[in-house]
């Protein structure tokens, strides 16, 4: 009886009830999640069902049209969801890095904050500078959404689940994302603001430079897999049971780093360096127009995660777990991991200067990419001599990892990056106080 009293007294009752309810909730989530995942294991049968359903009632053209529209709507709504959830995740995670709480007022855990932000932005007035070219000024915020959404097309979510399963998938993404360059340029130019112009010139210079290392790293992916189709690249990795990121770490690094330059993420966010050119090309945009630019940037960061996942991290495969968990969940999980890595980078690093970034692209990334590309081409030629890749591919992977590390060492020697070793540039302690004469008495720390 005393035990009962002890347990079920006022505040303690609530405490235990909370604990029990959390446990029950987690259990329900796991069970429901299992059944849900079994039900929605293969989403392609739903699209097949819709296609057949419409086909029975009309002609082929209409069925094709309807199912493609539904697929496109699915992609668009997914991107919209990514933008909403992504901004919340980014703010919360960065807040954790920065010993803050982050948005926690609107809705549970501040989950409704992105919606509140969107409503606030929509209510704001869209100012157009008096000397701006009004047509050109108002087109870019809308137009920049097109490449950002179109590039999601060929992403392979799961087997038989990619909206545009085309043979030129990599080239398609590359081409579509290159369309952002003129759009950003028009945004910066039409604002008639020096900051905006500087920002757009920086963007263009950076994108033009960094497209070369990106294309070189994508080329090495293409020559080893022998295809430009995303799904086939993922399947190649699973049939040869190696992640391309492990096989060619330098291509992964190049792609990741150069892409951060393309999508304006830290440490390469010089195009909208806040402390230098305030907001870069979108400085004159207000209200929802500015919000659209920021949303696209966020969406591109998640897109980069999806691209890295499918090209280098074996897509929807994860050591056999894909047989029990829906593959697209694994894919999204990997994408989120890359996105969190981007947030981590953003929370940690200062940014480069424009000339440093350019030097890095032209003096380091491009030559080393070319070396890497040739090495991989030779390896591919050797691999093609054999029926099955077998153990050889692991040997090459090991070789590539050591090559990657060796190239880093050699290049840092060539450009003497180690000139500024931190221990060599420590301050010293003054021996005695005075002017230039006393400078001679300065002794080093410890």
């Amino acid at each position: 009886m005393s035990f009962f009293n002890q347990v079920f007294k006022g505040p303690q009752l609530a405490y235990y009830f909370k604990k029990i309810s959390i446990a029950v909730f987690i259990f329900i989530v796991i069970v429901a999640g299992y059944f849900f995942s079994q039900l929605f294991f293969d989403l392609s049968k739903f699209s097949q069902f819709i296609f057949d359903f419409v086909l029975q009632r009309s002609n082929y053209n209409f069925a094709y049209f309807t199912s493609s529209i539904i697929g496109a709507l699915g992609i668009i709504s997914f991107v919209g969801l990514v933008l909403l959830v992504g901004s919340w995740v980014e703010r919360r995670v960065i807040a954790k890095f920065q010993i803050r709480v982050g948005p926690n007022r609107v809705g549970p855990f501040g989950l409704l904050q992105p919606i509140a932000d969107a409503i606030k932005l929509m209510q704001k007035e869209v100012l157009v500078p008096a000397i701006a070219d009004k047509t050109l000024f108002l087109i870019p915020p809308v137009a920049i959404f097109l490449p950002a959404i179109l590039a999601w097309g060929p992403i392979p979510w799961a087997p038989n689940m990619s909206y545009l399963n085309i043979n030129v998938g990599i080239l398609y993404v590359f081409a579509v994302s290159s369309l952002t360059v003129p759009i950003i340029f028009f945004a910066g130019w039409s604002s008639m603001n020096h900051y905006a112009l500087l920002g757009s010139m920086r963007t263009v210079a950076m994108m033009v430079s960094y497209e070369i290392p990106i294309s070189l790293s994508l080329l090495s992916v293409a020559i080893i897999t022998g295809t430009l189709n995303f799904s086939e690249i993922v399947l190649w990795q699973s049939t040869n049971s190696i992640w391309l990121g492990l096989f060619m770490p330098f291509s992964l690094f190049t792609f990741f780093f150069a892409s951060t330059a393309e999508i304006n993420r830290t440490p390469n966010d010089i195009a909208e360096a806040e402390s230098e050119i305030v907001a870069g090309y979108h400085i004159e945009y207000s209200g929802m127009k500015a919000g659209l630019f920021m949303a696209v940037e966020l969406g591109n960061a998640v897109l980069l995660g999806a691209l890295v996942t499918s090209l280098f991290l074996n897509g929807w495969f994860l050591f056999g777990i894909e047989k029990f968990v829906p593959p697209y969940i694994i894919f999204i999980g990997k994408t989120v991991a890359i996105y969190l890595l981007l947030i981590w980078l953003r929370a940690t690093f200062p940014r480069f200067r424009l000339d440093q970034l350019m030097n890095f692209a032209w003096k380091t990334l491009i030559p080393v990419s070319i070396i890497n590309f040739f090495v991989i081409a030779i390896e591919v030629t050797i691999l093609n001599q054999f029926q099955s890749t077998g153990i050889l591919i692991y040997i090459f992977a090991l070789f590539n990892i050591f090559l990657f590390l060796g190239l880093i060492v050699v290049w840092s020697k060539i450009f003497s990056v180690d000139k500024f070793q931190p221990e060599k540039i420590q301050p010293k302690f003054a021996g005695e106080i005075g002017g230039l004469e006393a400078m001679k008495g300065v002794k080093s720390v410890d």
């Binding site: 290159s178 360059v181 430009l228």
Partner: protein, 181 residues
């Protein structure tokens, strides 16, 4: 009358996206706006290539024309200020329109002489979105290898040529800066 299938609808849309901006370039006064229209027109052409089941060429069109050549033109506009922002017609305006219309007339005459719609293609129509890239690659490195190599030489020459053309006056500019300091 044209039957409104998905293909025909797409064709009409892509034609409009190609032709209307191209016409706009001729009549828009701002050079920047005409550049925007030019990019739209390039995208329309890429759409037409997709309809012609040339997916690789369509992507290359997007990549090279809409993504790169437009950037070069933007740089050209940026490097030649104020005066270059307008896009006026020259004194040959009438001549140009006459020439264009005459050419169009001749071409349509030429096209309609033959019953071209009989042709439905014997080689590529079965190929719709099959792997054309491999075959193009084989052709480029096989049958047309000399042209391929010449193209690479051409690109190299263009690279060096462009640099040297601009470079020669760049050095004058450097001297000017030093003098002013």
């Amino acid at each position: 009358m044209i039957e409104l299938t998905a293909y025909n609808f797409s064709f009409i849309m892509m034609t409009l996206i190609t032709i209307l901006p191209a016409l706009g370039i001729a009549f828009v006064n701002s050079l920047m706006r005409s550049l925007l229209l030019l990019i739209l027109s390039f995208i329309g052409v890429a759409g037409l290539f997709v309809l012609l089941s040339a997916d690789f060429i369509a992507i290359a069109q997007l990549l090279i024309y809409a993504g790169s050549i437009s950037i070069l033109l933007l740089f050209a506009v940026m490097l030649t200020p104020e005066i270059s922002i307008n896009n006026e017609n020259s004194k040959y305006f009438l001549l140009a329109s006459l020439g264009a219309i005459l050419f169009l007339y001749l071409m349509i005459l030429l096209i309609t002489i033959f019953d071209l719609n009989q042709l439905t293609g014997n080689a590529l129509n079965k190929l719709d979105f099959d792997n054309t890239i491999e075959q193009i690659g084989t052709l480029l490195l096989g049958k047309y290898i000399i042209a391929f190599e010449l193209a690479s030489v051409l690109l190299l020459f263009a690279l060096i040529g462009a640099i040297s053309i601009v470079r020669s006056s760049e050095s004058d500019f450097d001297v000017k800066i030093k003098d002013s300091k």
